[in-house]
Each structure stands twice: as structure tokens, then as C-alpha cells.
Symmetry: C2
């Protein structure tokens, strides 16, 4: 590890941690903090960590500092900075796959089945509406090209289960009917979203949109997910038996990573994104007896490396394209506002997308589906890396992710306290569980 | 993650795990298995994972397989293989620093002080003898150049605390007098060895051996270690208090990595190896209230990434230089045999290097100091990366590490059963603790 690499890791971790701690104290998702940390130290901020392809120069004082401390010339510092960026990206990609693996691992397929009909209806509405409204709107109103428009639409389909689960847990309604529907629908949304992502990225590297390859990829992706769910029932006992036989240390994390690599290998071999493989690997092992032990060993990897992934997304964002003072940015701002409105409305109405014979707080369901969080960022990161997006569309998607992730917890808490206020007074001890059954 | 990268991770993890599991069942150190796995799939074996700079071609059947599965041309597979090698190395280097951090973290400085005099004497003898005999012998008998000779001598100074601690634990003599002396001496050896490593690598990148820079670097390294030990007493309470204040998830692993990066940054800023910084970071936090929690979060990183580090060392080794059939290799074989003999004898005699008024099994102490294990491999890996070694010297050091790591557990068990057999019969329940007090 050279001085420059160690220095950049330091900058990334310290900035991310400071802002994450700030946002936790404001009861907001930490992922927003990591993203804002990236914006702060990146292209749109202090220019401390910038991607070489952005063409933005590293802040001169930092170059001087590294040059002075490391006894190398400023030119060498700049060269080392550019050369070490792929290293940061490699580490970040490990974080991305570990995070997707963990997301799959935490998908409770059994709970999904228990609220199957309502959750499916919410999930489908939550994928179709933002995707269709977003893509068609971008093409129809703003004359965005087909692939970027489809990709932007796809980036609005995901739901961040982590953020909603956090707020629901804090309000004590995670085990309520609404909580179960939202969690089930979020799992389904993850599956549908990653299928769409795998298909869109694969198409983008081909010859544009044609029906035969789309259908082929959709079928392959669907078959892949169905196979993963099937394997979670059939192959997981074999995995458990094998792990029990292993005696060399580190058996849990290595065995999990072998499954992860195997699924990424299989996904890429049939022409899909490795991201889908990582998620499927988690789905397969979600049924293991060792799920908790696997989570414990994978979480440190996610904490370290997914942080770098989110910070790097922030560093690459050029928010100057959204500066309202520059008249050239007006259209980009309108696009960003459009994306945000579609992203909010397209998920909010899902609360009214299902039939229920029991009283259900439909607003809580809709709001619970709203945050895009880490899944939205994964879309943004992969789309940027594949060069599918224009800078203004990138910034628009970033604002959409930040906006929904920021608003969802706030609005959930507000709507919950309104619902509680409108109720006849009840035993306070029972309140969290009972208020959620009000429509 | 592309198909090629996922495929290579798979090859590395599966090969390492298979051989590690085999060696565990033979009661031998798993690290030998990871190393042999690398030899098996690397330049000296099946040519599945080979460093681009070796000039060895990847096995054609593997290229065909990747090419067929990934729908890319064989030329693209070869290019992707070469391009993804730095990615593997980057991941391996994370494993290296995490391992050094963990080694520092597990150094129990208090226990070291309790057996201070004897342990220091054993440690000093175990550093000076192999270093002096090895370096001078290579220069005097075999006309090896100064820097490679000094480096090879330095690579023999380390003691692998992990392997000895394992065997001692299995024999039930970890808490015996011999066990405490060896563990204390191994910690000191780690410190001395890494100081020597930092100095040698820094010198090698300069203008050869001159007294002024050697002295300056030695002083800097010593000051660095003393500062780390001082900080472990003074700064660790601040670290603990800070960690207790953190509320965003992943606080333990991120806070540890910030300390790790800070120490690597400081080490490189004063011209030393980052490896010394990683080890010092562990030393500093070894006094934390949270040491166990830190270990738990760092171990998965080590299990995954240090495995890659060890396997990559094995893949790069060209053992054909030791093929005894080729007469051109005779001198290399003699050098390898010389290194092995010096490495064994230089540590074995340390058992008789101290005064003791209590009966002590000096053979057990000497054998306990013998395995070079992961620390020897870290030397080898860094020396190869810095281009300091000739292929035959690399192979010789590898054989020395393998030989001592392989022989130490076997000889320890043998000598222990001899010592037990020669004893008057005693209460079997007390045997492990009491037999070790026999000289």
C-alpha cells in the first residue's frame, strides 16, 4: 500500500463515517451520508478523490501534502492517484457484490409467500408504474434516447428493504400486516429490478433494443432466479452438510464466497450481469441453517467495501449540471424533477394496488415502498460504469435516489404520528401494533 | 465481475480449500495447503492462474472453456486474464495488511513482559543467528549479491506464532512455561523481523547498502514500534471511547481500518514499508477493550484475502529451477538446502540461549520457534514483488518456509510424546501441564 492509496482510503472512510454518524443522529439513513461524503470530497466538492476519466484535477493542496510527506514529485502523486483509482474501483466492486449477496441472503422467501398475493400486487405495481412512466416520459416529453431512458426507468423500480425495515422496526410495526406486505414486495422488487438491470445492461452492450434478445435475456434471467429459489430448497442442505465437514478455519466465509463466485460465473456465462449472480447466491443460501453465521462474516466486508462503492458514486457525480443559475441546466433540472415526482408517485400509489378484507394503512405501505437507497445506487453505479447515461441523467437519478431515500423515513414517521393522533385513546403499550391496522 | 475474474476466484478458493482441508486432516498447518494449491494451479503446475510477468501461457483448455462459456475470443480471454491479475494482487494485498494487523492485534504485550528476559534472549538469538548465518553464508559460500543475500537472511528471522500456538494448544501446553516463552519470543521476532523487512525493502529501492540510511531507517522503524507500543497504552482508551460513541453500523471494522490506514500512511510517510504500519496498527489496538470484537470482524477479511495472497505466492513460484535432473540446477538446490539447514539450526539452538532456574524443555522451545509460516511468506511475497530475488533464491526461500512449517508440528508432537514416554507415570489429567516442566 503506497502513501497515496492509504491516504485516499483514509479520506474516504473518515468522510463517510463523519457524515454517516451525522445522519444517524438526524434519524436518516447512513447510506445518504456515504453518498454525500462522496459528493463532498469528489468532482462536485473539494476535489480530493476524483475519477481520472472526469478530467478534474486533484486539489493542489492535497497533491502538495502527499508530495511533501512521500518525498515524491507532484507529477508522481498525480500519476499514482490516477493509477490507484482502478484499485479503489476493484475494492468497491467487492463491496457491491457482497452487498447484493447480503440482500439476497436476508430475503425471507417464506415470509414473502405468507403475504404473497398482496405483496405481489404491490411489487408489480411498484415496478411497472415507475418503469413505464419514467421511460415513456423521458422519451415522450424530453426526447431522451431509448437506452438511457429505459435505464433511468429501470433505476426507479427498486425498493430499498434496509431503509424501510429500519424505520418500521423503530416504529415497532415490522411484524404488522403493512410491514410484512412491504417487506415481501421489496424482496420481489429486488428480484424484478435486478432482472431488469441484468437485461438492460446486457442489451446496452449489444445492438440496441430488439425483441428477440430482450425476450431471450428476460427468459434467461427469470430462469436463473427460479433456479436459485429452487436451489435454496434443494441444494442448501448439501451446502450445510458440506460446511459442517470443513475443518480449516474461515470455512463459512470461504464457502459462501465459492457459492457467490459460482453464481457470478454462471450468470456471466449465460450473458447476464454478475450482480444478478451475487444476489442469486444470497437467495440460495437464505435457506441455510448457517444464514446468521454467514451474515456475520459478510457484514464486515459490506461495511468496508460497500462504503467505498457508495462514496465513489458520490465522487463521480457532477452536480454542476443541476446548478439552477446556469440557464443551460434548466432542462436537466426539469428532467431531475420529473424523475423525482414519478419515483415518488409511482411507488406511493402501490399502497392502493391490492384488495384487502382487513383494515390496512395504505399510506404506510406506499411510503414504505418509496426509498430507493442502495439498490437505486447500484443501478446508478453500474449504469455510469457502462457509460449508458448522460451527466444530467446521472445527476437526475442521483437526486431521485437521494430524494426518495431522504423523504421516506420522514414521511413514514409523520404519517404514523398522524394515524396515531386520530385514534381513540388506547393502551399505550399496545399502540404500535394496533394503530397500524387503521386505514 | 467478469466471467474470467469470477472463474479465477473460483479456481483459487476451491484449490486452496481442498488442500487446506487435506492438510488439516493430516494435522499440518492450513497455510501449507494454500501455498501448495498455488503451486499446483500456477507456473510450476497446471498453468491455470499465472502472473503475466512470468511469460507462462495459461492452459489452453481453460482458455477454450472461458472462451466458449463467455462467448469471447481466446485472445480476449488471455487479455482479460492478464488485465485482471492486478485486481487479484490488489485483493491479495488487502489480505496481507489485514493479516499483519491481526498478528499485531493478537500480540499479548503483557504476557511478553511476564517472560521478558527469557523470551527476549530467545527472540534475539532467533533473529541474529539465522540472519547472520544466512546472509554471510550466501555471500561467502555462494557469492550471492549483497541485497538478495541480506533479504534471504531477513526472511529467516520471523517465527509464525499461529502455527506454534496451534500445536501447543492441541498438546495442552500453551499456558506452560515453554509455551509462554515461545509466544513472547515470537511476538518479539515479529517486531524485529518486520523492522528488518521495512529497512531492507527501503534500502533496496535506494542506492544499495550504506551505513547512514541503514541507521536512519533502523532508528525510524524502532521509533515507530516504540511509539505504537506507547500508543497502545495511551491512545487506546480514546479509541475505545470514540468507538462507543459511534452509532452507524459497521463501526468496529471501519474504525479499525481507519487506524490501519493511518498507520500505513504514517509508515510510508517516514519511508518505511506499509506492512510495518499494518502490524503497528494491530499492536496499538491490542490493548483495546474491543480487541475480540475487532478480531471477529477482521478474521473474515483475512480468511478470504490472505488466502489469495498465499495462493498467488505459490502460483508465481517456478520450482523447475529446483529440478535435480537438470545439472544447471545443482547450485540452486545446494543454496536451498543450505537455507533450510540454517533456518532449522538457527532457531533450534535458541532453546539453549537463556538461563533458567526452573526445569524447562529446551527442545520444545527451539522447535516452537522454527515454523516461518505466514510471516516468512510475507517476506517472500514482498521480496518477489520488489524484484529483489533471483528465481532460484525465491524457490529456496519457499522451500525453507515450507520445510520449517511442515517439520515443526511433526517434530513438536514427536518430541512431546518422547518426553511424556520417559516420565514416571503420573495422573493423566495433569500430564499436559506437568510434562512440559521437564528438561
Amino acid at each position: 500500500m503506497t502513501l497515496v492509496v492509504a491516504g485516499r482510503f483514509l479520506l474516504i472512510f473518515v468522510a463517510a463515517r463523519l457524515l454517516a454518524e451525522l445522519l444517524v443522529r438526524l434519524q436518516l439513513p447512513t447510506i445518504l451520508g456515504e453518498l454525500l461524503a462522496g459528493v463532498l470530497i469528489g468532482v462536485s466538492g473539494l476535489h480530493l478523490v476524483v475519477p481520472p476519466e472526469s478530467g478534474v484535477a486533484v486539489a493542489p493542496w492535497l497533491v502538495q501534502l502527499f508530495s511533501g510527506l512521500g518525498a515524491v514529485s507532484p507529477e508522481q502523486v498525480l500519476q499514482l492517484s490516477a493509477e490507484s483509482y482502478p484499485f479503489l474501483q476493484a475494492v468497491a466492486s467487492i463491496g457491491l457484490y457482497a452487498l447484493l449477496f447480503l440482500t439476497g441472503l436476508e430475503s425471507e422467501l417464506d415470509e414473502l409467500i405468507a403475504v404473497g398475493v398482496q405483496a405481489s400486487s404491490v411489487a408489480l405495481a411498484g415496478v411497472v408504474l415507475p418503469f413505464a412512466l419514467g421511460s415513456l416520459g423521458l422519451i415522450g416529453f424530453f426526447h431522451v434516447e431509448l437506452i438511457p431512458a429505459v435505464f433511468a426507468g429501470a433505476s426507479m423500480t427498486a425498493t430499498s428493504i434496509g431503509i424501510t425495515a429500519n424505520v418500521f422496526g423503530e416504529l415497532g410495526i415490522l411484524r404488522s400486516r403493512e410491514g410484512q406486505i412491504v417487506l415481501g414486495a421489496a424482496v420481489l422488487d429486488d428480484i424484478l429490478g435486478i432482472v431488469i438491470l441484468a437485461v438492460v445492461v446486457a442489451l446496452a452492450s449489444g445492438d440496441g433494443l430488439q425483441w428477440a434478445p430482450i425476450l431471450q435475456l428476460l427468459l434467461a434471467a427469470a430462469a436463473f432466479v427460479v433456479a436459485a429459489i429452487g436451489l435454496s430448497r434443494t441444494a442448501t442442505p448439501c451446502f450445510d452438510a458440506l460446511v459442517d465437514q470443513l475443518r480449516a478455519p474461515g470455512e463459512m466465509v470461504v464457502a459462501s464466497f465459492v457459492v457467490l463466485c459460482l453464481c457470478c460465473f454462471a450468470a456471466t456465462a449465460i450473458g447476464l450481469e454478475a450482480a444478478l449472480g451475487a444476489f442469486a447466491a444470497g437467495l440460495i443460501l437464505s435457506n441455510s441453517r448457517h444464514t446468521e453465521a454467514i451474515q456475520e462474516t459478510v457484514k464486515p466486508l459490506v461495511s468496508l467495501f460497500a462504503t467505498i462503492f457508495f462514496v465513489l458514486i458520490g465522487t463521480a457525480m457532477d452536480l454542476s449540471v443541476l446548478n439552477p443559475v446556469d440557464p443551460a441546466n434548466r432542462s436537466g433540472l426539469v428532467v431531475a424533477a420529473f424523475l423525482l415526482v414519478v419515483a415518488i408517485a409511482g411507488k406511493l400509489v402501490t399502497g392502493w394496488s391490492f384488495l384487502s378484507d382487513q383494515p390496512t394503512n395504505r399510506l404506510v405501505v406506499g411510503l414504505g415502498m418509496m426509498p430507493r437507497g442502495e439498490v437505486g445506487l447500484i443501478f446508478l453505479g453500474l449504469g455510469s460504469a457502462a457509460g449508458l447515461l448522460t451527466p444530467s441523467l446521472e445527476a437526475g437519478i442521483l437526486l431521485m435516489v437521494i430524494g426518495t431515500t431522504f423523504l421516506a423515513p420522514l414521511l413514514l414517521r409523520l404519517s404514523y404520528s398522524w394515524a396515531s393522533a386520530g385514534l381513540p385513546s388506547i393502551d399505550p403499550a399496545l399502540q404500535p401494533a394496533s394503530t397500524t391496522d387503521v386505514d
